[in-house]
């Protein structure tokens, strides 16, 4: 659709403002088609949770955009300002590190301080229940972790880097992320090994205990029955 529009544009006459307007429009159209990310539907009281297993000191940026189903126009329209989303982030020890309400369009950021599984939960806080009217809310979500969360345009502007320097900077960030992930895996493997060894110990002690109980019960049975039969004068 946008492609056909671009082809039909009349070449602007030199010096006229129409050329500038057309170019801006084309650029905006192109940018607009890039705006939509992955989306899903969420009910009114529904809570959707996402898990991010990340090493420590990793930044996570989440962008979301909501749309509400408009019954008259039978399509999804941008949600009214009254409709917001409540975002809750829990760290691996189930401690809440972010619990905030955002508007119909929001951006949340957090940095992990402990490695492990972080849980990001979203649910809507519709103030007027009639807004949903049995329909669903469409949520566009985009979660960027670690190196993907970096805004290179901003970094280039702030540190005044040339193109090559920016590329090298990106490589450095990627390698740092790989390093963090490796450290996290090493920590995980150590914990798993400790758990396995303690399980092994427990299984060993349990087996020994069970054998002893078995032998003890056998001995008790024999003695009990022997005394019983002796009392009954059968032996």
């Amino acid at each position: 659709m946008a492609v056909e529009l671009g082809v039909r544009v009349v070449r602007p006459r030199p010096g006229t403002e129409l050329g500038v307007v057309m170019r801006t429009l084309l650029l905006l159209l192109w940018l607009a088609t890039r705006g939509s990310a992955l989306y899903f539907h969420i009910g009114e009281t529904e809570k959707k949770c996402f898990i991010e297993e990340i090493p420590d000191e990793t930044m996570v940026i989440g962008n979301y955009r909501t749309q509400l189903y408009d019954k008259q126009r039978e399509e999804y329209q941008p949600a009214t300002p009254g409709l917001g989303m409540f975002v809750e982030v829990k760290d691996p020890e189930d401690k809440v590190i972010l619990a905030r309400q955002y508007g119909s369009e929001g951006r949340f950021t957090f940095t992990s301080h402990t490695p492990g599984e972080h849980q990001i939960c979203l649910h809507s806080n519709s103030t007027k229940f009639s807004l949903f009217a049995g329909g669903m809310l469409r949520v566009h979500l985009d979660i960027q972790v670690g190196e993907h969360a970096n805004d290179y345009a901003e970094i280039a502007a702030k540190d005044k880097l040339s193109e090559l320097q920016l590329r090298v900077r990106q490589l450095v960030e990627q390698v740092e992320q790989i390093q963090k992930e490796q450290n996290y895996q090493r920590w995980r493997e150590e914990r798993f090994r400790q758990t396995s060894e303690s399980t092994n110990q427990r299984v060993l002690w349990w087996s020994i205990l069970q054998t002893l109980i078995l032998v003890a019960i056998g001995v008790w049975q024999m003695r009990h029955l022997k005394s019983f039969f002796e009392a009954k004068k059968l032996v």
Binding site: V9, L38, D142, I143, L164, V175
Partner: protein
Amino acid sequence: MQRPGSALRWAAAAGSWGCRLLVLLLLVPGPGGASEITFELPDNAKQCFYEDIAQGTKCTLEFQVITGGHYDVDCRLEDPDGKVLYKEMKKQYDSFTFTASKNGTYKFCFSNEFSTFTHKTVYFDFQVGEDPPLFPSENRVSALTQMESACVSIHEALKSVIDYQTHFRLREAQGRSRAEDLNTRVAYWSVGEALILLVVSIGQVFLLKSFFSDKRTTTTRVGS
């Protein structure tokens, strides 16, 4: 209002070239991106995700079940007309690449409807087109220097390293989940077995006693 001079002609030329370039950019399937999401799928539930894709874009959907039950899920991918492009039942891990044949909203769903009480954690990675370039400028059409192309190839290699790391992390999480399941089952079994052992051994004794307590003490002895 016409302004004379070569500067004007240069501006006009630049302007028209800029316009042509923008048209060119619109024709090219634009930079896509990847969405990597790990979510919880409750029992008897179905979760669908949608994405608007332009025609001719190469997309890859990859999913893996991390925790829950038999670590399997149903997956289904449909194009804007509802035609099923990919459908698999009870799969643990799979990867599917396709090229979008038409513009529109593509839908993919994960279903746990066959499971009655285990909820699952599913990871998926949906790659649409190429990653956005580092510079949102118009330099894409110009050639790269040797240094820049070296940087680009290192970047691609590191991306595949990160991809392998992600797969390793998921496998480790899955292995850990299986080990914890096993541990729980073994613990319950051991306690249950111990209880059964006690009940049976004590029961045996009392049952045996009951056989002899009905009869009188004057039972005939063998070989008296």
